[in-house]
């Protein structure tokens, strides 16, 4: 198909980054550029269902050291929609089990002609370590509880699609803040685009120190619920916790699960997001997850659009001064 949208014709000169490691370092301008580009791609590909060969000749490698279905599939599909080649490495099928270091593994994959490496790892900073050790671009697809920039972007894109503008909106991130990379990426992105952020969860999983970064901290969902325009319900990261931060799942659900009863006390047009995988009955009940306020499946589609935009900005044809 023919492309008519200028922002996806050539990468604007204002984009200068080789890697995307987190949203903490990005400016509001950069965030908006990614979101505008993603919106354009979504429009030009009939909701990310058609191909648009912008990255022919580019090879993207997924290097996933943690389990993932949706993020890995989403990156692969985004690359293929753009005409790039993709290759997948999972830790179980790599030589990590033979004692090779992560840097050596990544260098070997890079040597196969990879231009962009999408990295997921249990340890914060591993994508940063690889970015320093490799010549290719690195996209952080989740480094432990640190950041997951494309998840933050797709959440924000979903809110923006529904509300047009982030400024003045009140967005609550509910649940396991301490171990959530989605929370951190959302905090930075939302704050920069002018939203009010509330972090809500049990006191063992939400640090008061976040208040120093201009966000509100609350332990009681029922108190903040009526003020929220958006609720992003985070999964409890049981696998990352060394000690149980609350006595039981039942007690957690009684305090924080988004259910029909709580929905009645929320704003009429409240948006319900969940980064998935969702634990039905823990952070959200099935009727709410599948109900009219839920935009959980829009998030998945927007994930494709955001990843297409990021891949394009990082490895697309740059705008030149003489062009």
């Amino acid at each position: 198909m023919s492309v008519v949208t200028p922002e996806i014709e050539m990468v604007p000169a204002s984009w200068t980054r080789r890697h995307l490691l987190g949203l903490e370092d990005l400016t509001a301008g950069e965030l908006n550029l990614i979101l505008d580009t993603a919106t354009a791609f979504k429009r030009e590909t009939a909701g990310c269902t058609q191909k648009i060969a912008k990255l022919a000749g580019v090879t993207m490698a997924n290097l996933f050291f943690e389990n993932s279905t949706r993020t890995r599939t989403s990156f692969s599909l985004a690359a293929r929609r753009l005409g790039a080649d993709t290759v997948d490495f999972a830790s179980s099928s790599s030589s990590m089990s033979k004692g090779e270091t992560v840097v050596d593994t990544a260098r070997n994959i890079e040597a196969m002609g990879v231009n962009v490496m999408v990295v997921r790892h249990r340890t914060p900073g591993t994508p940063h370590l690889l970015a320093k050790s490799l010549d290719c671009s690195v996209i952080n697809a989740g480094d432990g509880p640190h950041e997951h920039p494309t998840q933050g972007l797709l959440d924000i894109m979903t809110i923006r699609e529904s509300r047009g503008d982030l400024r003045g909106l009140t967005v609550a991130l509910v649940g396991d803040i301490a171990f959530s990379r989605t929370a951190r990426s959302n905090i930075w992105g939302l704050k920069k685009l002018g939203a009010n952020v509330i972090l809500c969860g049990p006191s063992t999983l939400v640090s008061k120190q976040w208040e120093q970064f201009g966000v509100e901290v609350s332990y009681h969902l029922d108190e903040i619920l009526p003020r929220c325009d958006v609720l992003n319900l985070l999964r409890i990261q049981f696998e990352r916790q060394t000690t149980r931060p609350f006595p039981s799942v039942r007690e957690y659900a009684s305090l924080y699960a988004m259910n029909a009863e709580r929905l009645k006390r929320a704003k009429n047009d409240v948006l319900i997001l969940a980064p998935g995988p969702i634990n039905r009955g823990v952070e959200v009940t099935p009727d709410v997850a599948d109900g009219p306020h839920s935009v959980i499946l829009d998030q998945v589609t927007n994930g494709l659009a955001v990843r297409m935009a990021v891949l394009w900005l990082i490895s697309g044809k740059p705008m030149r001064d003489d062009g």
């Binding site: 903490e24 249990r122 914060p124 900073g125 591993t126 940063h128 950041e147 951190r184 120190q209 120093q212």
Partner: protein, 426 residues
């Protein structure tokens, strides 16, 4: 043996309240005289503009031998010590096998003699096989030459074992050097728990983990009359607990490493594993407390916690990378740059904390002093020398230092061990 005359240096020896420009004569491996104007010495070393100090003493050295000789051997570790200005080191039994028998103590002494660089004193294990279960044969170890006891690498965890060790050591009045860490509070931790760990999502090691163990050790030392030396203190809370205990007369001493008074947990934002150590780099408030503790005398020793690691181990994910950095060759420069130049400590205080106090805590006669008859261990320091830390400039086999590329002021230019010149910089 040749006689050596060091002339016109600023001779600083806190053990005899000495601080003036003068000459010092070394003969037959001993200090033979001060204020000597003997033209008959075999060699005269002009020390004009330099500081002449008792040989620097490192209390906390991880030599890795026996065991991981790939990262450090006796020869390279003690050569690094000399290059950093140290004439004596106390090595910690964090080795494989650990130093818990007379035979291993003797092995260390033999290796040190073979390397023939600096003096090596042995800190032996508190517990058999460093397992924290039953006491090692402390009496036998003392007879073999052990100067103190420690299970470093790990704290002596069992409070009853620690109490027994304090009591048993009363027979020789030896100190126990303990690594203060309550491990239930640091499971999986890679950095200080605080605002920075919260932002980075890295598992934290709270200050409380150190403070609680410091408190326990002080209570046990106080109740038994034993001697506790808190290793590498790093938190404001621990320093406050130690300060209060000292006021009550508890026999507690402590030390601090340069990284804890020069760097904070902010460094971890780079995710560079050369900033990963245990105890971890703390908050800026803790850094300031370390400096205040040095100034008010609560902290009486500066040591390096020299922990060599192979580059490939440090090039791993932060949770897999080992704890620790090398320190012997940057210690003096960091002390001058971060403590002397800003005016926190004067030179006599620095030299006391790097020579006299370690020798006093380990009860070593003839060390940490330039009194006539003392061992002829001397470090000549150029207090103005500006130099840049490089991997190539290091004698240690491992280069895991966060200070590579930093420019520092002050370094040892001549190092004399037992009357023999071991380092001579142009």
């Amino acid at each position: 043996m040749a006689t050596l005359l060091l002339t016109n240096g600023r001779v600083i020896d806190p053990s005899q309240n000495l601080d003036r420009v003068t000459n010092i004569l070394l003969r037959d491996g001993k200090v033979a005289g001060i204020d000597v104007h003997d033209a008959g010495a075999d060699e005269v070393i002009d020390c004009s503009g330099k500081i002449v100090s008792p040989g620097l003493f490192e209390m906390l050295l991880l030599l890795r031998e026996p065991g991981r000789v790939v990262v450090e051997r006796f020869a390279s570790g003690t050569a690094a010590a000399i290059n950093g200005g140290f004439t004596s080191v106390a090595c910690i039994p964090n080795t494989e096998p650990p130093i818990d028998t007379q035979a291993t103590v003797e092995f260390i002494q033999q290796q040190a003699a073979r390397a023939d660089n600096c003096h090596v004193f042995v800190v032996a294990c508190v517990s058999k096989n460093r397992e924290g279960k039953e006491l090692a044969e402390l009496g036998q170890l003392v007879n073999a030459g052990a100067v103190a006891f420690s299970d470093d690498g790990a704290p002596v965890y069992n409070a009853e074992l620690m109490r027994r060790a304090f009591e048993y050591c009363l027979m020789w009045d030896k100190p126990i050097l303990n690594h203060a860490e309550v491990r239930e509070l640091t499971v999986g931790g890679v950095m200080h728990e605080g605002q920075v760990s919260m932002l980075l999502g890295l598992p934290g090691m709270p200050a409380a983990a150190e403070d609680v163990m410091v408190g326990r050790d002080i209570v046990l030392a106080e109740s038994t009359g034993g001697r506790i030396h808190i290793m590498h203190v790093s938190t404001a809370g621990s320093i406050e607990i130690i300060k209060r205990a000292k006021k009550r007369g508890v026999r507690v001493t402590t030390e601090v490493c340069p990284h804890h008074f020069t760097l904070s947990d902010e460094c971890l934002r780079s995710f560079d594993s050369n900033f990963k150590m245990s105890p971890p780099l703390r908050s800026q408030a803790d850094v300031e407390a370390c400096i205040a503790g040095l100034k008010d005398g609560t902290i009486e020793v500066i040591c390096t916690d020299h922990a060599p690691h192979a580059a490939e181990k440090k090039m791993q994910e932060l949770d897999l990378a080992p704890f620790g950095i090398t320190g012997l060759e940057t210690c003096l420069g960091l002390v001058v740059t971060y403590l002397v130049e800003p005016g926190h400590l004067d030179w006599p205080q620095v030299i006391e904390k790097m020579t006299t106090n370690p020798a006093r805590i380990l009860a070593l006669r003839g060390k940490g002093t330039l009194a006539v008859g003392a061992d002829a261990d001397v470090t000549v320091i150029d207090p103005q020398a500006r130099w840049t830390v490089t991997a190539e400039g290091m004698r240690s086999k491992s280069k895991n230092s966060p200070y590579i590329g930093h420019t520092l002021t002050g370094r040892a230019t001549t190092v004399i061990v037992g009357g023999r010149v071991k380092l001579r910089l142009a």
